[in-house]
């Protein structure tokens, strides 16, 4: 029953001469929440951005190896297709400041020039906002600008924006690090809901968060994937001493 949706094979990423992600091999099963943790500068965000080819947007950034999405190599696909299938949510909420809440949700369609009938748009907006538990809060103010919402609401709006495109995988780059504790817990609850329909890969530097929300955890250190296991095993019985040191707080 369980199928692998994303598979990274000998993935390497560079900034100029700087080798930031080294030979990562990782299998990501469908409908799971995967947490990627590690100290800052360990290459976890770079790896995440490599999955939907955002890495190469930075001047001087290159990558080698394969990332398979449903047995298709994303490195060979056009980035646009990859990004339509793999959505992304960023560290800081970044709704489009010039668009209303409604337009922000369907931004992927609207800004890509895909014309949809009004009823279809309404359906997508309601559906997506409901999925991120924002519909009740904003349904009366859909025409307001997205930047009027609170930080937590903005982040959920950004998740709705990604969800609206019906991707298969959702990437989260430290999605709660700019949020207050209450908003953080709302977003974390969302992960449990979202994994019914999507595969979630979450980069976090917060170990408790990884332990709380994920099914599996990957630990990156100095650009290497040190350990990748079921979250419970990882935290109770880490195999590598570096993982052990990290989760017991001996370095950060």
């Amino acid at each position: 029953m369980e199928s692998t949706i994303v598979k990274s094979i000998n993935y390497n990423a560079y900034f100029g001469d700087n080798h930031v992600v080294k030979d990562v091999n990782m299998d990501i099963p469908r409908n799971h929440v995967i947490a990627v943790m590690g100290p800052s500068g360990c290459g976890k965000t770079t790896f995440l951005r490599g999955i939907n080819r955002m890495h190469e947007l930075i001047p001087g950034a290159t990558a080698k190896g394969q990332i398979m999405l449903n047995n298709e190599d994303v490195m060979e696909m056009h980035p646009i297709f990859v990004r339509l299938k793999i959505g992304m949510v960023f560290q800081r909420p970044n709704p489009f400041p010039n668009l209303s809440i409604y337009d922000n949700v369907i931004a992927g369609y609207k800004l890509n020039g895909i014309k949809l009938p009004k009823a279809e748009k309404d359906r997508i907006v309601e559906h997506s906002l409901t999925r991120v538990a924002l519909w009740k809060e904003v349904k009366d103010s859909l025409t307001k600008k997205g930047s009027f919402l609170s930080g937590g609401q903005q982040q959920r709006l950004c998740i709705a924006r990604a969800v609206a495109m019906e991707p298969e995988v959702l990437l989260f780059d430290e999605p709660t690090s700019a949020l207050d504790p209450i908003s953080t817990s709302t977003v974390e609850e969302l992960f449990h809901e979202l994994k019914k329909n999507y595969t979630l890969i979450i980069v976090t530097h917060n170990m408790q968060q990884a332990a709380r929300v994920s099914d599996r955890t990957a630990f990156f250190y100095m650009g290497e994937l040190v350990e990748y296991d079921i979250t419970k095993n990882m935290f109770t019985n880490p195999k590598d001493t570096r993982t052990q040191n990290y989760i017991t707080g001996r370095f950060s």
Partner: protein, 330 residues
């Protein structure tokens, strides 16, 4: 084969309702296909757009090179007939085909530097006032905007006003100090230019003074320095390259200014005897004589004047800009 490269094989299977997931995926395949077909078209447009941007950026380079080449090619005739002596030839006589640019180069330098000397105290005063004494508030704001408006007034209007108002004033001034009262001339043009170029050095100077770190100023204050002493021995030394760059940009502007000068300078090709005598600048000669130049060497001589003007202003502006950017990056 792929399995072998995977670091860790997961053994347990999380209990997930996979069937439900598949049904959700199905509902979205229709719109997904449409999206992908659409995207094929977009990729082509994307590449066209990228190429278009590159072409536009190239066009800017071509444009500037084109300006240089046009000026150079069109002035070869004059250069061939006079060579470098063109620059210090003292006679400009189209009737005899003798073209020496010295009177105009001298006229340009005189008007510009005189204007600079007159305007510097004013523009530095504005810079210090807005940058140090009163950086905020409605009155300084009003002053800042008004000074910026000085640059917005069209130069032909400055020229007309100078002709109607300034020339009679200068004439009576000349009478009182005992020079020949012409009114028009190098001095009058310098006055007009001085007004016109105040905003350039002022606004740059203001932003430079703004950037002086407050801990430097506080260090001086804590040693008991007065406000003026702080300005003189902390702010001025710290911002000197920036202030100088502002002066250079003003100078560049003054050298190239055409209309206002043309209208009040008097238009004579004789070498000016004093700052009160009429003269001509490079720009004003071109403006006056370009459409009258009836034979090729004459026209070419005027264009060579344009080329010299172009090169001088470009060098001055580039040096000024380099100084500004090196100051801001420090």
């Amino acid at each position: 084969m792929m399995e072998q490269s995977v670091d860790i094989k997961v053994t347990t299977r999380p209990g997930k309702d996979a069937g439900r997931v598949v049904s959700v995926k199905k509902t979205s395949t229709v719109s997904s296909n449409k999206r992908i077909r659409r995207s094929f078209r977009q990729i082509r447009t994307e590449n066209v757009f990228r190429r278009m941007l590159v072409i536009v950026a190239l066009c800017m380079i071509v444009l500037v090179l084109g300006i240089m080449v046009t000026l150079a090619v069109q002035s070869t005739l004059s250069f061939k007939s006079a060579g470098f002596s063109y620059l210090w030839g003292k006679t400009w006589d189209p009737v005899r085909d003798v073209f020496g640019a010295y009177p105009f180069i001298l006229g340009t330098l005189l008007t510009s530097f005189l204007a600079l000397i007159i305007s510097i105290p004013f523009s530095f005063a504005v810079a210090v006032f807005l940058g140090e004494y009163y950086p905020t508030g409605w009155l300084p704001n009003l002053l800042k905007n008004t000074v910026e408006l000085i640059a917005a007034v069209p130069s032909v209007i400055y020229g007309f006003w100078g002709l109607a108002v300034l020339v009679p004033i200068v004439r009576s001034f000349e009478t009182s100090i005992g020079v020949e009262p012409v009114g028009i001339g190098i001095f009058t043009s310098s006055l007009i230019l001085a007004i016109m170029i105040i905003p350039y050095a002022a606004s740059l100077g203001r932003s430079m003074i703004h950037m002086v770190p407050s801990n430097l100023k506080e260090a001086a204050y804590s040693l008991g320095a007065t406000r003026w002493e702080v300005i003189r021995s902390v702010i001025f030394p710290y911002t000197k390259s920036g202030l100088f760059a502002g002066v250079l940009l003003s100078l560049g502007r003054a050298l190239g200014e055409t209309m206002a000068v043309t209208m009040v300078i008097g238009n004579t090709s004789l070498i000016p005897k004093s700052i009160f005598s009429p003269g001509n600048t490079m720009a004003s000669v071109i403006a006056n004589e370009f459409t009258e130049a009836d034979h090729p060497v004459y026209l070419s001589a005027l264009i060579e004047l344009g080329l010299v003007l172009f090169l001088v202003t470009v060098v001055i502006n580039m040096v000024g800009k380099r100084m500004v950017s090196s100051f801001t990056n420090e």
